[in-house]
């Protein structure tokens, strides 16, 4: 048997993305296909990939139309990449594009492929609206029916209520709670205050603003529909404006999650180029960082675990395998689905009981230096087009490591369904 000879390093060459926009604003007329194609095209332009065959493009979308069943491949065909580039459509909720990168990374490491693009796109402006289950089944029956009698019987017991269209829902199918409702529960469990959350949100906006002003995002951002910056970014935000907002989920006095410290529904896409060292060097492409470790995990949220706590487990397991402590990083990219999610995660890592029970650790993992957390802003400021976030975070961190001579960075992304995806980038 011709076994894999050795594991090869996996390089992050860099990323490209369109600015993210709040739902129903600048991208209201764009589809996931439109947006994904633009980020891929931006990546192609940035790294001069015109006509090149990429070994695979893995990408997906969370809120998606049935017509987009072959999204990744279709998006490839709308770019100047070689049409011989295969596209794989994949989905793991908010972890989609990070997971895409991890799958391609494993193939690069094992020598199956030399290069890949991981990406994601999401839009809630162009969300699919579907027919009710009953009506849909009737129509399918009607389609199969041969005589008029069968056709007629398809409509037996028809009620007008069935005509109501079913909008997509971001609620958890098993708990019927929205993501924010779940996070509100976590905030209460961990005693996260409104002030802490608002503070984190404020910092995220301020850091993203200076990232734009210092040109950190210049190479990554591809203007789209006349938009050049994430339009959720508020330059004039202050603690006063944040604290004036009413709670969005638990609307009583005990609610702490607001529109300011939670991510809004967002449209956008992002993509990142991965390669073997040889492939990148052959083309004179930069190697921003190496993707060295990664892990995916899940928690039993249906039984009562915190829905968005899975990254704590993924990171813990990954650090064990890597033989690293939580403190051995220059930067932490912890996706801010909600300010409370980040704060719960950080608190849990420093909690003796939690670390024993859920992470099988005798000693808590400890605290991190807040100065190293999301230093260029994160989802609270950029917004969060579910499937695109992973690729945004990856290229953010790899650029950060490349431009600051940092050695190591940690990525943690929580997803719907109680899952978490984590990764380590090193230089």
């Amino acid at each position: 048997m011709n076994a894999v000879k050795q594991i090869r390093p996996v390089c992050i060459v860099g990323g490209a993305r369109i600015p993210f926009c709040r739902s129903n604003t600048a991208y209201s007329e764009l589809s996931n296909l439109d947006m994904l194609a633009r980020s891929l095209q931006g990546l192609s332009a940035r790294f001069d990939l015109k006509g090149q065959k990429i070994d695979e493009v893995i990408a997906g979308a969370v809120v998606t139309h049935s017509r987009d069943w072959n999204l990744a491949r279709e998006a490839v065909l709308s770019t100047d990449l070689s049409p011989l580039t295969p596209g794989i459509t994949l989905q793991q909720a908010c972890g989609t594009s990070l997971q895409s990168a991890l799958l391609s990374a494993a193939k690069i490491a094992s020598g199956q492929i030399e290069c890949a693009i991981a990406g994601g796109s999401d839009t809630t402006s162009d969300a699919p609206i579907v027919l009710s289950d009953r009506l849909r089944k009737r129509l399918l029956t009607l389609n199969k029916a041969r005589h008029w009698k069968q056709k007629l019987s398809a409509f037996k017991g028809f009620s007008l209520r069935e005509l109501a269209p079913q909008p997509p829902s971001v609620a958890e199918p098993r708990t019927h709670l929205g993501m924010g409702d779940h996070c509100e529960l976590m905030a209460k469990e961990w005693g996260i205050t409104r002030e802490e959350q608002d503070q984190l949100a404020l910092a995220s906006h301020q850091k993203l603003l200076s990232a734009y002003e210092e040109g950190f995002l210049d190479e990554m951002i591809v203007a789209c529909e006349g938009v050049v910056r994430d339009n959720n970014l508020r330059a004039d935000i202050s603690l006063e404006t944040l604290s004036a907002l009413k709670p969005s989920f638990d609307r009583s006095a005990t609610g702490t999650l607001t529109a300011g410290n939670s991510t809004p529904l967002t449209d956008g896409s992002a993509a990142v180029l991965l390669a073997s060292e040889a492939w990148a060097k052959e083309r004179g492409l930069p190697i921003q960082a190496y993707l060295t470790h990664y892990e995916t995990s899940a928690v039993d949220f249906v039984a009562g675990d915190g829905l968005l706590m899975a990254p704590t487990v993924a990171v813990s397991n990954m650090l064990n395998r890597a033989g690293l402590s939580l403190q051995s990083f220059d930067y932490y990219e912890i996706h801010e689905a909600f300010a409370a999610q980040v704060l719960c995660t950080l608190k849990a890592w420093d909690d003796d009981a939690y670390c024993r029970k859920y992470l099988q650790r005798d000693v808590p993992m400890g605290l991190i230096d807040h100065e190293k957390l999301n230093v260029k802003g994160s989802s609270l400021a950029t917004g969060h087009p579910f499937a695109a976030t992973g690729a945004r975070v990856l290229s953010n961190l790899s650029t950060l490591l490349a431009t600051t001579q940092g050695e190591r960075g940690l990525i943690s992304v929580c997803t719907a369904g109680g899952m978490g995806v984590s990764a380590i980038l090193e230089t």
């Binding site: 600048a26 439109d34 709308s78 006349g226 938009v227 910056r229």
Partner: protein, 662 residues
Amino acid sequence: MSIAHLSDTTFQHWNIQIDEQKIVWAYLDKQGEAVNTLAEAVLAELEQIISVLEAETPHGFVLMSAKASGFAMGADIREFEAYTEAAEVAEKIAHGHALFNRLEALPCMTVAAIEGFCLGGGLELALCCDYRIAKATASTRIGLPEVRLGIYPGLGGSARLTRLIGGIKAMELMLSARMLRAPVAKQYGIVDELVGEHQSLYWTARRAINKRRRGRRSVLAKLTNSGVSRPLIARFLRKETAKKARKAHYPAPFVLIDNWVAHGGSFERMAQAEIDSVSTLMVSDTARGLRRVFRLSEQLKEQGKKVTTDVKRVHVIGAGVMGGDIAAWCTLQGMDVTLQDRELKFIEPALQRAEKLFKKRLKKKHKVVAALNRLRADVDGRGVQQADVVIEAIFEDADVKRALYQTIEPLMKSDAILATNTSAIPLEQLATCLAEPSRLIGLHFFNPVAQMPLVEVVQGEQSQQIVIDRGAAFCNQINKFPIVVKSSPGFLVNRALAPYMKAALELHQTGLSKEVIDEAALRFGMPMGPIELADVVGLDVCMHVMETLSDDLPAEAHAQLSQMISSGKLGKKSGEGFYQWQSGKAVKPEISNEQQDWDGLAAQLIQPMLATCQAALDEGVVSDAGLLDAGIVFGTGFAPFTGGPLHYQQQTVTHDESGRSA
């Protein structure tokens, strides 16, 4: 020759492919050119191809482009210069008509598959097909803009388009010279099917042939061509056209309307009228002048093609009328712009004007919002460090400007352009304070920025050529024509305008009414009379320009102007100057029907300007007479059909001489 042989034949400008279904695909690919034109050689080869298809009918025939730039731009206007006699042109056009009729008569289904530019002759070719599909990408533009060249569509377009979409829409399109985006062309009924961004023209064309698709023809459109409706519609069209163009200067649109009224009921007669009229128009001085200006405009753009730039961020300092409007224009062109002034309250009026501009031009709300987000007030000047271009547009004080440059130069990116919008201070004086004086250039915009197509790229003695080239490339990027001028008083445009306005003020002093003076200029072909222009520019600015040029007015005129300025009559901006201004328009009484020597009057106004242009050329302010002509046409609106001031002068001299010798 059979169809099978067609694909073996090598054509210079066409790439022919035959598929297994016996569909013939003809890809237009004009040899040695970046864009397709329907040059004679292209049509000659098309004739060969059509002859084959007449002998043996294929399953379908598809016309496409092999070039990324688009389908076809129209005829090759350079070829028209060879003809001096209408009869020669008529012969050529008639030949083209015959060829297009043969294409239209082919028994197989014919499809035009369009992406990018499909203009003039390109659209006339597509109109001969049974079915037109167009890709709805941002670059697709469809139209018949021939009137801009002093003619009207001459390859059957006026007859085919009126027949296809009716007289109202067709005439509106041809008279306005509008270029439509694909979805609008579909609404007009010119395009039968749109192809989405992610779909392919090839497969859509193939499907159209296999399903034998036909476009829908509206009955209403047919009614507009009836003998009853044509005169009624024409009355309206004539009125609207007269608002935009004088018949004496621009006869083509009026001839088009007349021909449609007379012959719009019959395709054959309309086509014949086209051959007769377009050939006459083609050799007229007007068409020659307009073709020259078009050619020269391409030459202006060439100045901006010596280097490639990709300016993303612009920082404008000074949020006054010019600075604010320059910032708004750059934003409208897609750039990320910061606008600096001492306090937010000085920037706010500029932002409000910008919003008005964005609403007018972008229409869609989300695009307006996106544009407003790209334009940021920046009191602290944080944008300087990231800007690719910094434009200074503060008041004309050399010391203040120098002090400003000293603070911003160390902050700027090393390869960023530093430009001043000054119209009065020599660049050499401003550059002295810079560590790197060679980086300073002038980018002199004209008011109103959104309407004036020209920018003077001012080269000081110290300015480095590469920065000038990049400045010109930046102008191209923001869709303005650059003209490189030497740093000298008034540069080109103001220097040429000053004697024109001065002559007008002098004539006014002699007792001639301002309305008569302005009318004389309009009759000559200027877009605005000199006195009205002075009001629009602002009398204070006029005075300042004249002082800069040390071109003193006679004492009485000077006294009058000073008196008006000191009493607050500054022109349009203050509501009163020489004219009263109401809702942006000068109130003009009807001119009494007195007889005037209009030509003589116009000569008195124009001659000083021509002399100044010649002097500017002799002094090397502009490197080339053609560029100078283009600069004056686009910078002052100087009667474009004359071909520009120097050309006009030369022509007049030649005419006079030939008149004398006769």
